[in-house]
């Protein structure tokens, strides 16, 4: 199977999305007859014809992106609009998606998955499912050991897709992790946020950039 892999992250090569895609493609390419062809949306969106050609020539396509304000990033929406002329023309294309976010719950990304199903319907493509995951922000910047299990699931999912042309539901669930936070976790988060999450992540970055004292600035007032 020839798989067109579209990295829709505005961060491009420096993205956590890239690491997820590499894990998927590792599994997919275990079958030597399978080939991944990787493209970055932030680059190909500059060329409308290239966008349409990429999809028209694909028998299978994997589009991966981070959640930006509850749905696709603007640059991915632009890619989709570039391909508006393909309405009903992708009947021979099977599409799968990876949607990741920085929030810990997978639930944030479900409307984006629903949107991609709708887009597939407009194109006439087969929607073969989405792999949705929260808590991905920082992937690639933290010790990779912390994410080994998640990446292993992604590789196994790639292998299934490469062999059977479908996603495995139990791997989708395993990859998704927490759909929502339990009540005890929701109650604990304000405390954990104050003493652990915010200092370890946001405050550390603010201090590294000499911006900690300005963290509550309101420059647009």
């Amino acid at each position: 199977m020839n798989l067109t892999v579209l990295n829709g992250s505005p961060r491009g090569r420096g993205s956590g999305t890239r690491i997820l895609l590499e894990a998927f493609c590792r599994g997919f390419s275990e079958n030597s007859e399978n080939i991944c062809h990787l493209e970055y949306v932030k680059e190909c969106v500059k060329d409308k014809e290239k966008c349409t050609r990429l999809l028209l020539e694909s028998e299978a396509c994997l589009l991966a992106f981070p959640l930006y304000t509850d749905i696709v990033p603007g640059i991915v929406k632009q890619f989709i609009e570039h391909c508006a002329q393909l309405k009903g023309k992708l009947k021979n294309c099977k599409m799968v998606f990876i949607i990741q976010s920085g929030f810990p719950e997978a639930a944030h990304s479900r409307p984006a998955a629903e949107y991609m199903r709708r887009v597939c319907g407009i194109w006439g493509a087969e929607y073969a499912g989405a792999m949705v995951r929260g808590g991905v922000e920082g992937l690639g910047k933290r010790p990779i050991k912390m994410d080994e299990k998640m990446l292993d699931v992604m590789t196994r999912q790639g292998k299934v897709f490469g062999a059977e042309g479908r996603l495995d539901e139990s791997l989708q669930d395993e990859f998704a992790g927490r759909e929502r936070l339990s009540l005890p976790r929701r109650l604990l988060l304000p405390v954990l946020g104050k003493i652990f999450i915010n200092p370890m992540f946001w405050d550390r970055l603010l201090k590294e950039n000499g911006a900690y004292d300005e963290r509550f600035a309101r420059p647009l007032e």
Partner: protein, 182 residues
């Protein structure tokens, strides 16, 4: 009542949509006690959000891009309602409008809080405008319910609520009446 109208229509030839927004702006400005501030995104210099988080961890509250977005955010923060307006293209509002939404994260603070049962970001400002959506239906598809659902989620992220999601089939006067009641 101050209303910010953001026109996310990429196609100036879409006369039906442009006329609706022009009438809407006129109707709002013509009423006592209401005013509108209008922005047309296709005529503005608007970069895609690159997810660099500079607005959170380098220059808190300010984007690294010095393009035309900041005046929109400033107007938004001192308004009562922001109206996101766009034709539906490929099942959702335009890439132009989505890009503006992405570029709105400087008005939030990065810290995590629980809001309406989910993890979201903390408010940076005391006041955020309510959100309304005006859309133009795409061919025969009815995306209204989906649009309302997504913008309701965007509203939670933006520390506010989505009070209005209507197609341009709704008469302008009725739409403005509805905004006034919000």
């Amino acid at each position: 009542m101050k209303v910010v109208i953001v026109n996310g229509n990429p196609d100036p030839e879409n006369a039906l949509f442009e006329k609706y927004l022009s009438d809407l702006s006129g109707e709002i400005s013509g009423r006592t006690g209401t005013e509108s501030v209008d922005f047309t995104l296709r005529d503005m210099n608007l970069n895609y959000c690159t997810g660099c988080f500079s607005c959170w961890v380098r220059t808190p509250g300010k984007c690294i891009f010095h393009d035309d977005v900041e005046p929109v955010l400033k107007a938004m923060l001192c308004s009562d309602i922001i109206l996101y307006c766009s034709p539906i293209i490929m099942g959702f509002t335009s890439a132009l409008l989505k890009t503006l939404c992405d570029r709105s994260i400087p008005i939030l603070h990065p810290y995590f809080v629980i809001d309406r049962g989910e993890v979201h970001h903390r408010a940076r400002y005391d006041h955020y405008p309510k959100i309304g959506v005006i859309y133009q239906q795409e061919e025969s598809a009815d995306e209204g319910e989906f649009i309302r659902k997504v913008y309701s989620r965007i509203a939670v992220n933006m520390k506010t609520e989505c009070i209005f999601a209507e197609s341009i089939e709704k008469p302008v006067e009725e739409a403005v009446n509805e905004l006034n009641c919000a």
